[in-house]
């Protein structure tokens, strides 16, 4: 079996007949034959330096192996096949005739290196042209991000607010989360960074795309009882939790003029009266028009999203109360079936005493 194998192995491995094609027209084949002979001759010249002793040794070794193989082989022909494969593999790694390590692999690797290098060049070129066509200030399409989504704070990877008033560790993380979130809204910071713009109208800033834009102040103190300034526990210690609601930022989004987007919450399922009373801060329960439009992260650096705080002052205790807060206003959609965060947000309050 090994003999066959060796006979198949032609003198110059990569230039072997193995790659001879099967469907050449005759003309080609003749041509090919000539070339191959030449190649073979070249290869022979390369092989010459190999000492004959070594070859003999190899021969002997191989013969011995062959004998062994024959002895073993008859018992287990499958083992033989594996042995053969091993042989082929090792030849692949080390070609004894050309005395080259990874002779074929090296060539292939070279080819592929160039191939992938050029491919990388192509994709780089394409990406470059892509960036030429895309403005860094304004997204090309915004229809997928519209209508705006709604998100609440504190955010704790869950929309169920379960806590026990008398056990601070059950609500402490809400307080920390809210405090952290409101750091950017500190009055001092807002006054320092942002401008106080007139309410009730858009804060439109004409000018070049790449010009830095000013942002309107949204002070933490706007949130009154839910600002955490007076009650550092945001009402959680008394079972009157504050939940902040914000509308997702969308570049260029403007609510309908004169009709700011309002927030309204109610029990989603069950008794309407489970909530009993909600206080909104700011009291209008709306996002003032002056916070719109948003000009994008790059130029509108200090933009602060307006918030509406809901203060659930008298919600039913010891019972899960599902609450749905919706945005209301012209051009606002709040009833998309498969997206429960567009224009609305649903969460559950379960306050134990």
């Amino acid at each position: 079996m090994r003999r066959q194998l060796r006979s198949r192995r032609t003198p110059s491995f990569p230039y072997s007949y193995r790659y001879r094609l099967d469907d050449q027209d005759e003309l080609n084949q003749n041509y090919l034959a000539d070339e191959e002979e030449e190649a073979e001759e070249e290869a022979r010249v390369m092989v010459v330096p190999k000492s004959e002793e070594e070859e003999e040794e190899n021969e002997k070794e191989e013969e011995e192996e062959e004998k062994k193989e024959e002895e073993e082989g008859q018992g287990q022909p499958t083992g033989n096949a594996w042995w053969q494969k091993l042989q082929i593999m090792s030849e692949y790694l080390w070609d004894p005739e050309r005395r080259m390590f990874l002779a074929r692999t090296g060539l292939i690797l070279l080819i592929y290196f160039f191939f992938y290098a050029s491919l990388a060049a192509v994709i780089t070129l394409c990406m470059y042209t892509l960036f030429l066509t895309i403005s860094p200030y304004i997204p090309t399409f915004t229809e997928r991000v519209k209508p705006p989504g709604v998100m609440i704070r504190p955010f704790a990877h869950s929309l169920n607010f379960n806590f026990n008033v008398s056990e601070p560790e059950t609500w402490q993380h809400y307080v920390i989360s809210l405090n952290g979130f409101l750091q950017g809204y500190n009055d001092s910071l807002q006054e320092e960074m942002n401008v106080d713009c007139p309410p009730g109208q858009y804060f439109i800033q004409d000018g070049d795309e790449d010009e830095d834009k000013k942002a309107c102040q949204f002070k933490r103190s706007f949130l009154k009882n839910c600002s955490g300034l007076e009650d550092p526990t945001f009402g959680y210690s008394t079972g009157q939790p504050c939940i902040l609601l914000k509308m997702n930022r969308i570049v260029g989004f403007r609510p309908e003029l004169g009709d700011p987007v309002k927030v309204s919450c109610k029990v989603q399922r069950g008794d309407e009266n489970d909530i009993r009373s909600i206080r909104y801060y700011p009291e209008s329960a709306s996002f003032d028009l002056r916070y719109y439009p948003y000009y994008g992260k790059l130029t509108h650096v200090n933009y602060t999203s307006p918030l509406v705080a809901m203060h659930f002052t008298d919600v039913v205790k010891n019972q899960a109360v599902p609450v749905q807060c919706q945005l209301k206003g012209k051009g606002i959609i709040n009833d998309v079936i498969n997206d429960r965060f567009v224009g609305r947000v649903i969460f559950t309050l379960n306050i134990e005493t």
């Binding site: 198949r8 027209d25 070339e35 060539l107």
Partner: protein, 980 residues
Amino acid sequence: DDHKLTLEELSTKYSVNLTTGHSHQRAKEILIRDGPNTLTPPPTTPEWVKFCKQLFGGFSLLLWTGAILCFVAYGIQIYFHEEAAKDNLYLSIVLTVVVVITGCFSYYQEAKSSKIMESFKNMVPQQALVIREGEKMQINVQDVVLGDLVEIKGGDRIPADLRLISARGCKVDNSSLTGESEPQSRSTDFTHENPLETRNICFFSTNCVEGTAQGIVIATGDSTVMGRIASLTSGLEVGQTPIAAEIEHFIRLITVVAVFLGVTFFVLSLLLGYGWLEAIIFLIGIIVANVPEGLLATVTVCLTLTAKRMAKKNCLVKNLEAVETLGSTSIICSDKTGTLTQNRMIVAHMWFDETVYEVDTSEEQTGKTFANNSDTWFILAQIAGLCNRADFKPYQETLPIAKRATTGDASESALLKFIEQSYSSVAEMRKKNPKVAEIPFNSTNKYQMSIHFREDSSQTHVLMMKGAPERILEFCSTFLLHGQEYSMDDELKEDFQNAYLELGGLGERVLGFCFLNLPSSFPKGFPFNTDEINFPMDNLCFVGLISMIDPPRTTVPDAVNKCRSAGIKVIMVTGDHPITAEAIAKRVGIISENTETAQEVAARLRIPVSKVNPRDAKAIVVHGSELKDLRSEQLDQILRNHTEIVFARTSPQQKLIIVEGCQRLGAIVAVTGDGVNDSPALKKADIGIAMGISGSDVSKQAADMILLDDNFASIVTGVEEGRLIFDNLKKSIMYTLTSNIPEITPFLLFIILGIPLPLGTITILCIDLGTDMVPAISLAYESAESDIMKRRPRNPKTDKLVNDRLIGMAYGQIGMIQAVAGFFTYFVIMAENGFRPIDLLGIRLYWEDKFLNDLEDSYGQQWTYEQRKVVEFTCQTAFFVTIVLVQWADLIVSKTRRNSVFQQGMRNKILIFGILEETFLAAFLSYTPGMDVALRMYPLKISWWFCAVPYSILIFVYDEIRKLLIRQRPGGWVERETYY
């Protein structure tokens, strides 16, 4: 040993009365004891086993593994997260459905062809005439029992193995058993030790051609000679078909790639900090993503299409995989009778007036085949017509003479037809010269004699005789030359000898003809007595010789030639005599004109045969008896060293040995045959080809393919189709595999770069089982790039269906370009929607967080989970569409492996249809309202369709350049590393 027994011994052995036969009671008992007299059909695999084979064989196994892995992955996900993505579940279901549907499809295909097989079976129950309790009765053949006294007559099929106890001019056609085309005469004499050669045995399922005989049944059913050969067949192990081996090799390659990728990324994902569980899910996901879901169906459909095409050309394929086998065939072992020859005797030559005349022996004989004005010819024709017991069967005046059915022995029928065609109506001749006495031919006297009234004067008689030429010459003292009688001389005898040798050397059966005008001392009404001869039977006048042959089919020489130029060795293996075999071999080109056998070389050089250099004799005729003494190495020597080989007088076992010998040399062997004697070889061969018209049921059962027109030339078409489908499957697999890379890479980058998944399971399935299907199948209709019948058969060891170069091209090059195209589209859409590529890196965890509904993009906009998922699915749709568009280029590129598309042309209409179909399907999936809910595919902006175009062009140009280099620099490294 029944043939050696005397009748008395026979009678006691089977305890049967040789005149009255068994009693009904006894017959019934034996029937119950031995069972019916039928061949046990080979253990047909039960239908459900066949179905399971389709369901779990070869390629399906890969898909099953994929399905199970997916299911396991889903199970893991379910177990550890209650809310798992259903993708893996869907995938495993889809994989299962695909396997089952494809399995059903190929099962249905094979069931259909086996139904055609069924229709071949002779459903009319055969009848046998037996004598029981002294009464003759017709019973069904399967009720014949051991020891039954059976009567047979011309035209009957022998109901069981018979030892004859009386015979009158009985001849049997043993061709289905031994391959001899000449009928053998049968008598009650024990003539040979070998039961197959002795005269007093008739064999089950051979035919009685003429005469009558009575015999005792000595074997029934499976214990008959025929039954034993048939059971030899069913005991044979059948090897794997070449295409099955190729697919196995392919699966191995795919598995290696899949496992390699899977394990690599398993380790990588662990290093990247994913959990064990996630890493295992990834591992399974990657392995499964490597499974080309649609390929099984594509391959099956391609093979089916070819099988249908072949069926149209009279090659019915029983086993789908055999479609390709013929294409890889390197040796065809052909039976002679009926395959290479027309299986009918026909007059080929005549010798009279010291000249050899040739007769047209082609299949479509029209008009007169021979015309001559010599008086000798008229007399010869009269003798041939009158001294002849054959006759046309009635009611076939409308048929051409050559096609009419006749009664009687083949050579007599040949004479009858010949005379009818080239001289005059035999019936009229016989009416004018009524027969008054006759001695029929038998093997001892070797002649046939009849006495007729003379045409001119109805008062005198003429004695006509035909028979073995040397016997005829013994009777003669004069000879006829141009109508004149001359007395016999040595010169004529030498001429005769030469002519006889020449015609005999052509493998033809030679008959001599002579006549004698009886003197008027034998007037009308003379009581001629043929038992005690009372008329002169010497000093006859020799007229001439007529020789007959079973001529080769007209298309065969051309077909043999084509086989040879296609690098296929055609070996004749026949049960017939060496001389006949050699003659036919020469006429059809199996032994070509300028090659010689050792004997011929010896004759030319005037040296003994033993001294001939075996290298000079490329051709060889091996006799069965020589073959018996050969060791297998010697047989290998013969098969290797001689290019043109004829095996004559071979037994079924020897045919098997020859086939095995060829297979030992690594050849893929096709065997053609029609007789029961061929069936073991048919079964053993890589592809057995049986004859649809003349073939026996046993041979058809053993074969993989059936030539509906019995014509050897149809095999050439089969070879061509087989080779074409091999090439086209390669292209089809190349096309299908390519899209695997743009399908896998998204998942890989999803894992290592943490980007949102650019291509989901559903879209992958849409490609594999939707858009890729028709184009991949359309490649089966691709025409050949060069003359595939001019190249050598592929070497099954090195020319693989799928090799590393194909994988390299598909995965490493074209596939990579496609993947890049897909990612480009993906990044375009993401960027245009607000997510720049840089910001996407590592976004995965946030992106997948369902509670994070204000994820910021590169512009500071905030996205809800659903909103960004819509973008993600839009990207996936676009990625899908991009793959479809780059697959256009891939399809056009895969059309050819060497030629430019501009050389090959775009004539493949199915392929164009495929391109349109996949595009429309892609558009349909993207734009149909409701698809967002059903398949989560979203409408795309028109501009996104164009992202792929540069890459399509790139693929096309790149591959055209590659092929240009291959063509321009044959043997160069481009070819070595990329030609698949």
